[in-house]
Amino acid sequence: MTEPLLKVESLVKHFPVRGSGAGRHVVLRAVDGIDLTVDRAETLGLVGESGCGKTTTGRTIVRLAKPTSGKITFDGHDITNLGQRALKPLRADLQIIFQDPYASLNPRHTVGSIVAMPLVVGRIKPPGGVKARVQELLEIVGLNPEHYNRYPHEFSGGQRQRIGIARALALQPKLIVADEPVSALDVSIQAQIVNLMRSLQREFGLAFLFIAHDLSVVRHFCERVAVMYMGKIVEVGDRHEIYETPAHPYTRALLSAVPDMNAPAGHKRIMLTGDVPTPIDPPSGCRFRTRCWKAQTKCAEVEPLLAKGPGGSLVACHFPEIGPLAGVQPKTAEEVAS
């Protein structure tokens, strides 16, 4: 088996918490030891509820944040502790798309200079000139190249996100970390953007780390899915394993929360009780045990590790669920076709 494009091993990112007692070393455990791999041209979805560390994971992988510990290997290079200068040549292959299309474009720059920025910063002279390349990129993402001289405030959210995608594509990356790229958009626009990313992924052989909390979008876009809870990955597997035979109780709870038009009458949602514990002081053992309906004493004592579960996925649970998710739908025609 060939080396994966991105390999993340026991990645940890802690943030120091201020205002705590003097001298006490209090940290917020945003990401607490996760392992991930993304193969070339593969799409991995990273899902979980707000505050579970998805975004921090993405930011740490593109090294906008420095990992506390762990190892990130990208395209054969260990980029865990590289300085910004040493990182620069690798930046071209590793790009990010941001969540908020209103904050991710410099309001004082024209669309042309926003998309050209990575080329200018990297001192890259594309054949035919920067302007031609930028207009080509605008066309690739479905924007009018004539909008080269316009400013971001003249565009809608979806168009802005296309500009952000064009900027990420400018350096022809191998991996794009998409940090909730559609969650700030209208539902009608979300599909357009996801379809755009899917066609780009096929056309250019891009790999995506797709961070989202919307499970239906992830199902539509990602071949593999990792579920995160409080800084840990609780389950990871192929799309059909996660969506059809989820093994971790948390995954089941997440999936049952997805509104489903075709759900049979009497379909019972799994209602999680209680709040998410604070990541400053996570529960011992399994972190999900405080909200899990299957929790037993073992869960508080021994932390479950990722292991092959009954549904084929890797699951971190002592008492994984078995069998298909109640009320699960057969594959849609679209998925069969893809």
């Binding site: 930011r59 593109v62 906008l64 910004q84 990182l87 620069k88 930046r91 071209a92 590793l94 790009q95 990010i96 941001f98 969540q99 908020d100 904050a103 991710s104 474009l105 410099n106 309001p107 004082r108 720059h109 024209t110 926003i114 920025m117 990575p118 910063v121 990297g122 031609a132 207009q135 066309e139 479905g142 924007l143 009018n144 190249p145 004539e146 909008h147 080269y148 001289n149 316009r150 400013y151 405030h153 003249e154 565009f155 809608s156 979806g158 168009q159 952000g164 900027r167 400018a170 350096l171 626009i189 357009q192």
Partner: protein, 331 residues
């Protein structure tokens, strides 16, 4: 302003792409502000006033030549034996439009014209230099953070608590006596430079603090992360990504700091700080006129009115500029 989305690839059927003339140029935020400014009547009136005053200041030597009166010419023959100007209203005549100064017998109009020139030179220089220093300090403090931010912020606090006038009263004569003996005449340019220097030292903190605050919030925006993810260095981020977003507050503080320097300069000379130069000056004129408040009120009134007009025009224009650049601030 928002275009419908599907106006995409199909819009261009030819392979060459759009002709340059077809390029849709959007309005930049600056152009939008400029349009708003042009529609603002207060801005127009104050801008024209300022233009006239600046023109007078720039062409002061020309005016002096046309009138045939130099800034140091005296007209003792037009004053009586106790030094009061002959004629009504302080000696207003066809030759001396605003009359003569009592005692010294200078022509008031020419004194005002040169006073305006000196005042504006000092104010503009001080504003440019102090704004530049403030912007640089603010961007560095805000972007670099850490101990750099702490030391710059400390310096700002330190300079802000120093009483400016007391400091000026002590340092200006001290600095002058360092370079010139008491009998030497101090060149006008040197004294003006000294005042600009002291204004600069005490004038950049407001801008610095404002810019630092803006940068601290801009630094967390995602477009900065996008630049970093593309491998941009700190210089690119500070100059190309952050600075263009600061032009609005910089312009506003710049234009609102000018009247402060005009009055500050007049105040220093009114208090007699850093006297030595013989350059015509508003503050010195008003100080000299105080003794003639009853006998020749026009002498006090005229320089006072010019300062009022200048400062008012600057302030009105600065306010309009702020409204034009950031229409949300008035809501």
């Amino acid at each position: 302003m928002i275009e419908p989305l599907p106006r995409s690839v199909d819009a261009i059927s030819t392979d060459e792409g759009p002709a340059p003339s077809e390029m849709v140029a959007g309005r930049s935020p600056g152009q939008v502000a400029w349009m708003r400014l042009r529609r603002d009547r207060t801005a127009r009136i104050s801008a024209y006033t300022l233009l006239v005053l600046f023109a007078i200041a720039i062409f002061a030597p020309l005016i002096s030549k046309v009138m045939g009166i130099g800034p140091n010419d005296t007209f003792q023959d037009a004053t009586n034996d106790i030094g009061m100007p002959l004629g009504y209203l302080g000696g207003i005549s066809g030759r001396h439009w605003l009359g003569l100064e009592p005692n010294s017998a200078y022509d008031i109009l020419i004194q005002l014209v040169y006073g305006l020139r000196n005042s504006l030179i000092i104010a503009v220089l001080a504003a440019i230099i102090s704004t530049t220093i403030g912007v640089v300090m603010g961007i560095v403090a805000g972007y670099v953070g850490g101990w750099v931010d702490k030391s710059i912020s400390w310096l700002i606090d330190f300079l802000l608590v120093l009483p400016f006038l007391l400091f000026a009263i002590v340092t200006l004569p001290l600095l002058e006596s360092l370079f010139f003996s008491s009998r030497q005449a101090i060149p006008n340019a040197w004294e003006m430079g000294l005042i600009v220097f002291i204004f600069t030292v005490f004038g950049w903190m407001g801008t610095g603090r404002l810019v630092r605050g803006q940068v601290v919030s801009l630094r967390e925006r995602e477009f900065i992360d996008a630049a970093r993810a593309a491998g941009a260095g700190p210089l690119h981020i500070m100059l190309r990504q952050i600075l263009p977003n600061l032009w609005a507050p910089i312009l506003v503080t710049f234009s609102l700091s000018l009247p402060g320097y005009v009055t500050g300069e007049a105040a220093l000379h009114f208090l007699g700080i850093g006297i030595g130069g013989t350059a015509p000056d508003f503050g010195t004129m008003i100080f000299n006129s105080l003794g003639y408040m009853q006998t020749d009120p026009a002498y006090t009134l005229v320089p006072g009115l010019v300062i009022l007009l200048l400062v008012l025009a600057f302030n009105m224009f600065g306010d309009s500029l702020r409204d034009a650049l950031d229409p949300k601030s008035s809501r």
